[in-house]
Amino acid sequence: MTRQVRWVVFWLGAAGFGVLAVLAMIRMPGFGSLVHPYRDLAVPLANARSTPNVVSALNFDQRALDTLIEETILLGSVVGAAALLRPSDHEREHLATEEGRTLEATRLLGYLLLPMTLMVGIDVVVHGHLTPGGGFQGGVVLATGVHLLYVAGSYRTLQKLRPLAWYRLAEALGAGAFVVLGLLGLLVAGGFLVNFLPYGTSGDLFSSGTVVLLNIAVGIEVASGVIVLLAQFLAQALTVQEIR
């Protein structure tokens, strides 16, 4: 198809879609409406299970199946990206020279920020049922934190402190822990992903039953998964080269 035909097809479709969207959207409930039936069910149930962060209650208790599959998508994508970015037969990994020099100040800043980021990440993970955040957000923060090493030191330091095999294992274990907790619910309480642990007192670290454990499992999986994922991209950009 020529570019011209492509544009005709697209603009016809876009015009139709636009007209329909406008006609439809004026029938939407107004922005800021007071009617939210699902919320009215979800909030009291979350409070009854000592989970002040209702979003976490939804993600890890009421609609935990969605989150399990979401984490599986992440797992699948990390494995998929690793498969797609594996060095092919004509390539090998080779780190030519250290890329430029990092300023001492940058280096210092990186080393200072690293422990802080790690602390913040862990905090966000374990308090997911109480405050905004949770396993996913904390996990990404942790993964990003590890990459401060790249900013601070060098790719070599990062490689040394980043035994990828272990992160792959941790990723599998985190994802597996989610499934196992779900299956324990089936065995103990008769339903897959049932929140079968005592709910405790609202506001405590160990409250809300399995929500806190699922958050930690997801935190481990996401942190190691994102590290592995970024490692593939870094390796492609920095070290994988074609053999000429």
Binding site: F10, L20, A24, P37, L41, D61, R63, G76, A83, L84
Partner: protein
Amino acid sequence: MDPAWLPPLGIAVPLLGSCVLLAVARFAPRVVTDVIAIATALISTAAMAGLLVATTSNRVVTWAGGWTPTQNLTVGIVLQADQIGAGFALLACVLTVCALIYTWRYFEDAGAHVPVLILLFMAGMTGFSLTADLFNLFVFLELMGATAYALTGHKIEEPRSVQGGFTFGVVTSLGAYFMLAGIGILYARTGRLGMPQIGSALDGHGMDALVLLAMVLVLTGLLVKAAIVPFHFWLADAHAVAPTPVCVLFSGVMAPLGIYGTMRVTTTVFGGVLPPSTLHHTLVLLGVVTAVLGAVLSLIQRHLKRMLAYSTIAHLGLFLVGMATLTANGVAGSVVYVLGHAGVKGALFLLVGALLARKGNVDEISLYRQGTNDGLTRWLFPLAALALAGLPPFGTGLGKAISEEATGSPWLIGTFVLVSAATGGAVLRASLRIHFGLGPQPYEADRDTTSGDDEKPEGRFPHRTPATMLTAILVLLTGGLLVGVLPVISRIIGDGAQRFLDRQGFIEQTLYSYEPVRLAELSHVEWNWAAVLLGLLSVLLAVAIALIGVFRGVPQWLDKPLHVVHRLHSGHVGDYVAWLVLGIAALAALFSLS
């Protein structure tokens, strides 16, 4: 054991299996990972077979997280299995087992990437078949999608493979995002996410522009998966390049699941606001256009995997036409057709895979007379081609005949016969040239289409087809035969089709735990003389088409129109997305006009 345990197991077992695989892949030898993968798939198969048996007496309803509704209100996600849903889940598991057996020591793959991705893909398909929650459906759709892109592009050495994976990824992702937008709109209107809940909430409101937009958007995501025109472009590009065993899963169950999802959503969620005649006319039109276009494109391919892929598009169109009758017979016929097609088409893909493994080529013209010394596969190939056209007593023939009868229109019956004959004829033509050396040496005139010359062999088996490959081929072909021969299969599907269409019972049983009313009318899903004759007619036509193709070639006057059809399928991702947007507008127009 409570049958309500089985649906979650169908999802959890493959997830657990793939985590174990990932964890041990570093240390364990190759044999161990292969065994773990196949064992996981077998356990899931057993669970889904048990589920299918349980559904024959009643729907199996499971509330994930134990959130059973009180007075029809709940926050949880519901899984619902009837015979059709459980049947699709079982089909996904069985085909996965076949694919894994075929890949036995086939990929050079250190990290066990391929078996892990295949298992996750299987989990996505079983979950998609069993869930009755719209957002959950989207999540499973994305799981199927993400693993499928990665599997499609797995042969990174080949430029086509990564391009096909990319196009597939962009188009189906965009389709899924439109679907999510539709779900968001439905949530705004009803404040619910479960299919039965949204369905009963919509009943009070009736149809308006907002519900129409939501419906069109949700269907876009599903019809992209189902490769219905004009959302079909990605399928041939992806199927042609994916590793052969993965093609078996794509053609056999992933794309038909798009049809299944379309019907599940239109009947349950929109069944109360959408007049059945509107749905019927729209889907029949889409199905016929898809079937005819797929058949034409299949006939003019020389790349064998692309030929099979376009034949899948043609059959998807036929499945949709059968479903669109909205009668138990039509749905049952379509599902039998899907099962038979999965076996036959799967066998054909693996036969092409065996050719590729031995000759390193999948081009009909370059392989001319190259397969005359093949043993068993030389005879299986044309047999499968005839089965694809609807040879009795294969499941394809039975499903086709029941669907034809259900449509009750001579025009539609003619479409079924011609389309199935054309796809079977195309494959038979290739087989006659490759395995029997019939006809003159084909000439290289056509520059419009992709040739099959530059494919890399999968595995290295130059001398003979390995036993594992042959086993998988025979299992699939026998499966396709058994679907048509065993009356128990068609009886289960016949009962299931009635339950599938019983919207009231679906809502009452999931939300209110009412016991279902036993449905009186039984559908007739069995062979009769008309069915056999129509099947034989298709086969005769297929042979005629194949012989004309071998000895006469394409008539001159068709060159120009075919050139246009070729150019439309440009492999350009921008083109495909433009068509996607136009398709949304066209779908809305079709629904509001009819």
